[in-house]
Symmetry: C3
């Protein structure tokens, strides 16, 4: 597979600086790229690698400075242009229609003829699988679940009974959609054997709207009643926990190992870094952003940036952190004040 | 499926305020419930939804105030009554006895005739599966493992060799019982190729006593020697990590993404919020409670509430947090003191 | 299986204090060991258990004190000696060569004749599985993946297409190697339906070098370009997240639930406790160590110990924690200073 540089530029809406007839054969990191390769430069941390790169062409932003003679593909959003170029070289895997004889498709399941059901995949009774969707080995689609068109369910993904996956969703290996929410009512009397935790039926479902991605081994619980929902275009990273009745707004990005407790509503375009924790029953406004490891105990207004534990507006957190860093000095100054004051008092 | 309101009240030990002959057909959230539905109200955050709800009947506590004319099912513990009502409408799935011809049951395994072994489930040599227990597709029960009666192992659960699951246990999808503990002894000499980490055999087992639930993709490691054990009635949420030789006491609740390091003993009725971390070799007393993200480095006495990182008694943590919040002000006041003192000294 | 004490000592390079002819039949914890058992004592927390133990012999360090008459196996590194003794009693499971008729091995896959492919395991097209390697039920090895010699892939492990596993690697149940990295470029225009996150192809691979262990349900993402790599002898615990293009140096130990963001390079012999988080694009020097829950935002030099969030050198963190603990007292003292100063001013 190869493209001319001019062709790449046209396909991604970029602009060539240099020889547009250059033949590009691969996408490579700056350090490993050679004369027939395209690479990209968007993070200043890698300026030295950019300067030293032997890449035939480098994708950069409109105003990026570069050494004279360096062939460039300039784009308003360099990272997006890179993503598009890379997609040309690495087109998504096409489904190979058909149901493997070593897969199990239960009674009443509806599999689109263009779908690909691989060996050792399982589809439950009355479940549906849409056009061009691929189920890899070990995938389990429960009874009555609905999987849309153009989805990829990687190996060992579980979608439990009655849950819903929209179109163009990708579920990385081991992701679990629709496990029971963690709901127990304390029953002091039990059934003759002392107290117990009485399980609250988790009779709702979990739903992914269109264009959602779930990371490897992440868990999205089904609702106690109603549904847990990840809305259109939201992306969820590995090992994220979304509890029962959580709602994640469209286009939100939730990084790895973040956990969101029951019934919390997250707005549109929210971004959470890794290992964030949000307690239950909160409202997180549109466009809010959270630093890594933030621990959120209260509602957050739209557009705010929160950090820390307990999380506060990011600027306050920075100030608090600065003040904490200097605490030993503060102690010293207070002790000095006490000494000086004592001296003054003795003199008076 | 439907019940009269009077019948529901009788079954859950509650009391009707209104027309007991009302026919109830579904359990629904406050916002979506209609005249033939039962809902519940237990969290004040949803007072407006309660006031506006069109639910035919709402389950509430004994002293909850409600608008005149509202039909109510009052109970001492509203959430427990709701759980019981919901269980009437959503009874647990009954097993369909038998072993699927597409399951694999190894030599010497003992499957109770009333158990349900679904397609693509695997049971190892000499393993046992008790009465009415259900193994979903993709479940792997290792050689010599023992699964009790009335258990549900959801898709892709793994119970490794020789591990033990009691009666009435539920393992959500992807849960792993009995993976090797993380134990390595540093071997400076290695075997001629320099230092290495020498694997410490994890020859013990992991055991769940009766009535335990494990969340999706959680991991409970087998012991180095002896056993890791989750005692009667404890409930473990998604993505929780229990390391080798950990013991979780009866009726404890461990929320999502919490991690407990090796050999720590957790008492009875302990409650941990999400993302808590407990270091190894500690004793956590009965009834202790932990705020979200608490990081625990020391033993905790029975009945205490700990928060923060490093975790301290919750009241101390609140005080520290308050003091930290006001640190910038403290700096300001100290600077003012220094100024005033200097002035006084110059005057003196 | 049994050994004489003298034989054990010789095999592990230790020294007997007592009767070398003692017949040892089991390895047991101090509390449960009897006269024919070997146990070990290396953590002072268990001194009482050591004193009370009925173990026939206890493995201890060279300078450990013990009651007169206690039979001991002394070794320079007691824990390593214990690991070696335990390995004698619990030798690793030998592979039973062959491919189960209920496994699926795709066209062009190369399985070494000494490998063991168990029921319901899957090997993709063109993949290779080395000598004496064991694939348990539910394992999925993707197209073109390469698994080395003497590996164990426990149930439901996923190795996605083209990824590489070295020799003598162990992957605990549910571990995922080679899921897509979390990479999206924001595309304001989308395709007529408004903004979207454009998926950046994750066309690289993930690789484990020799002697690596991955914990249960951990996730190691494939690279955007190039490879994510865990180098020789590193050990990764349960539920750890390694993002795209991360590099983990040889012999590093990463404890449970830690997360490392994209492109961060971790050096040789680094040790991270549980629930640590490291942001992306950092350099972590050789031999650096991290306390539990550390949140790391900056490069860390070789050999340093960091703790806290944001992480700082451990000694600074201890000092800050101490100062924070005493903040309420500091406020009190400042208020007293203000009072005294006011009094002085009024007198002046």
């Amino acid at each position: 597979m190869h493209f001319s540089l001019a062709e790449l530029a046209e396909r991604v809406g970029g602009r060539v600086e240099g020889d547009g007839s250059l033949r590009i054969e691969r996408v490579m990191p700056l350090e490993e790229a050679g004369p027939a390769d395209v690479s990209f430069f968007a993070n200043r941390k890698y300026a030295a690698a950019f300067a030293a790169s032997r890449a035939g062409v480098v994708i950069v932003g409109e105003n990026e400075e570069a050494a004279a003679g360096r062939t460039l593909l300039r784009a308003a959003n360099a990272y997006l242009a890179f993503a598009k170029v890379s997609t040309l070289f690495h087109p998504p895997r096409e489904p190979v229609p058909g149901i493997s004889p070593r897969a199990v498709v239960s009674e009443g399941a509806l599999i689109d003829p263009s779908a690909e059901i691989q060996d050792l995949a399982f589809v439950g009774r009355g479940a549906t699988v849409g056009a061009r969707t691929i189920l890899f080995p070990g995938v389990v689609v429960g009874d009555g679940a609905r999987i849309g068109d153009d989805c990829i369910l990687f190996p060992n993904v579980v979608v439990r009974e009655r849950c819903v996956v929209g179109n163009r969703c990708t579920l990385q290996p081991g992701a679990v959609l629709g496990g029971d929410g963690f709901g127990f009512a304390f029953d002091m009397e039990g059934v003759g054997s002392g107290p117990r935790h009485f399980k609250v039926p988790q009779s709702g479902i979990a739903e992914l709207e269109d264009d959602v991605e779930l990371g490897a081994n992440c868990t999205v619980d089904r609702a106690t009643l109603g549904k847990t929902v990840v809305r259109r275009g939201a992306k969820i990273d590995n090992l994220v926990q979304l509890a029962h009745n959580v709602e994640i707004g469209p286009l939100s990005l939730i990084a790895a190992q973040t956990g969101i407790s029951g019934s919390t509503k997250v707005g549109m375009g929210v971004a959470m870094a890794g290992q964030v924790g949000i307690v239950g029953h909160l409202d997180i406004g549109d466009g809010a952003r959270f630093g890594a490891k933030a621990g959120v105990h209260n509602d957050v207004p739209a557009g705010e940036i929160y950090s820390g534990y307990p999380a506060v507006p990011h600027r306050d957190w920075l100030r608090e952190q600065g003040a904490t860093r200097k605490l030993p000095e503060l102690w010293k100054r207070v002790r000095e004040l006490e000494k000086q004051l004592k001296k003054l008092q003795e003199e008076a």
